[in-house]
């Protein structure tokens, strides 16, 4: 455990000694904040317009019109940014030849992977927590439901955790950071959109819906916690970490 902690510390020092983590977090807060502002403004215009229509105004709901789309959009921003956060994790070790230290220190591959994974989760957490000040601002003005907001946050954290696990795997495949980022972004995007197929064909409908990020995220963004969605994200992350482990084990024979 101490070894894992030593790696977490090292990775965080590297993250925060270069601009990468700052830029990614700042962009995330900026873009999601912008979206949130637009959605809240739009909602207030709608509310004014609905003022003399009691039926419509009773249907207006901040959770449904602001928070749910906000989390869906934040998820897309994570899809764009997280591959950049994870691209250096193993690729850069190889390029800088520090892997020759890392893999000759008394560390197991599991410790190395967990250390790197946890460090990236910490950065993700920082990014997400940084959105709290504005995202909770409407609570001072009106009374949205709290529970769906919290599940939305849980949703983007789990989604991010799954993205990071896959990004870690992509980074273990190459010593080129760009290749790692493009690969993880491409595959994650494909997995996001794969449910589109269910619109045009019933082939493997259930399966495609199951492996698509989108269909699982939709529930959480709407405030519906379904265990199967949580299980999906956690198993996806687990598969990503396991594939990374397999690559590291195989690499030992080939370097």
């Amino acid at each position: 455990m101490r070894n894992v902690w030593a790696i977490v510390k090292k990775e965080l020092k590297i993250y925060f000694s270069s601009p990468t983590a700052y830029i990614i977090s700042a962009l995330f807060v900026l873009i999601t904040g912008f979206m949130f502002y637009v959605m809240v403004s739009n909602f207030s215009i709608l509310s004014v317009q609905a003022g003399n229509n009691p039926y419509f105004s009773s249907r207006l709901n901040l959770n449904q019109y602001v928070y749910s789309p906000f989390f869906s959009n934040a998820a897309i921003i994570l899809l764009l940014l997280l591959p950049v956060l994870t691209m250096r994790l193993f690729a850069e070790e190889k390029r800088q030849h520090t892997d020759e230290l890392l893999f000759t220190l008394p560390l197991t591959n599991t410790q190395i992977i967990l250390g790197k994974y946890i460090a990236s989760l910490v950065v993700l957490l920082v990014m997400i927590v940084a959105t709290v000040p504005y995202a909770f601002y409407p609570f001072f003005l009106t009374k949205p439901e709290l529970a769906p907001v919290l599940t939305g946050y849980l949703g983007i954290f789990l989604l991010g955790a799954a993205f990071i696990a896959f990004g870690l795997f992509a980074s273990s495949l190459t010593e080129n950071q760009i290749v790692a980022a493009v690969f993880s972004f491409g595959i994650l995007l494909l997995l996001w959109l794969i449910y589109w197929l269910t619109y045009v064909s019933s082939f493997l409908k259930g399966f495609l819906k199951y492996i698509s990020f989108f269909s699982h995220f939709d529930n959480l963004a709407r405030g519906v916690v379904d265990t199967s969605d949580l299980v999906f994200y956690i198993s996806f992350a687990f598969v990503g970490l396991f594939l990374t482990y397999a690559i590291l084990e195989v690499r030992r024979w080939w370097r």
């Binding site: 590297i14 000694s17 800088q96 520090t98 020759e100 230290l101 000759t104 008394p106 030992r252 024979w253």
Partner: protein, 241 residues
């Protein structure tokens, strides 16, 4: 003590190291010689557990590195060919990371870091980012991390490469002073380095071990030739398949 048994590494069809057998007793400073591409680095990588041999085995103080990698790696200090440094870290926090992983804690860790910083002459740069220090200093940080946890076995791949003459002398003295109970393997192209620090040499060519033994014994075998002559005649021998 380091022992290898039929240590072999293939990269596809290419035979990097083939059936390498040697036994390096405790306290030896072994000079590992051979032309570029002879298999020196690959051998060192197998000894340190970075690469897995195709077959054969390597033992570090009686512990087989493939079977108990963590236990064996705790006993090894390793400086690869390219010093493995994180440019984003400060020298001191880099050494902290290595020390923590090697099991040093709290005060002991601090004291050991101070000790190796002094020994390797890093006082001036200890609080600077590795990115900003010169090549010579980087090499020293590489050596500092290798000796940090007082390892029983020290494996140095061309430790004096890229250093200026004064630094070379200092590092050689340092390596010499580290011997004693430790076993040191160092690879080099500078034969003079071997005569000044090592007591034993191994000459390797095309992945095969050609000569191995105490310097005096090998010199005797070659009729008191100089090390240069021994080296040239050893590597020009036909390598048996």
């Amino acid at each position: 003590m380091i022992r290898t048994e039929n240590l072999t590494k293939f990269y596809g069809e290419i035979r990097a190291v083939y059936r390498l057998n040697m036994e390096v007793p405790e306290g030896t400073i072994l000079g590992f010689l051979g032309p570029n591409g002879a298999g020196k680095t690959t051998t060192m990588r197998m000894l340190t557990g970075y690469t897995t041999p195709s077959f054969g085995k390597a033992e570090i103080v009686g512990i087989e590195i493939q079977k108990e990698p963590i236990k064996a790696k705790r006993l090894i200090g390793y400086l690869p060919e390219v010093p493995p440094l994180y440019p984003e870290l400060k020298v001191r926090s880099f050494l902290e990371f290595v020390g923590q992983v090697k099991g040093l804690r709290g005060k002991e860790l601090k004291n050991r870091i101070e000790e190796v910083v002094e020994k390797t002459g890093l006082e001036k740069v200890a609080d600077r980012l590795i990115r900003n220090i010169s090549k010579g200093y980087r090499q020293r940080v590489g050596i500092a991390q290798a000796i940090l946890a007082d390892p029983k076995v020290l494996i140095l791949d061309e430790p004096t490469i890229g250093l200026d003459p004064k630094e070379i002398v200092e590092i050689r003295q340092l390596i010499k002073s580290l011997a004693g109970k430790r076993t040191v393997i160092l690879s080099t192209h500078i034969l003079q380095e071997v005569t000044s620090i090592c007591d034993t040499i191994a000459i390797i060519n095309e992945g095969r071990l050609i000569e191995f033994g105490k310097i005096e014994e090998i010199e005797k075998k070659y009729g008191s030739a100089s090390l240069e002559e021994i080296y040239i005649s050893a590597i020009s021998k036909e390598v048996k398949a």
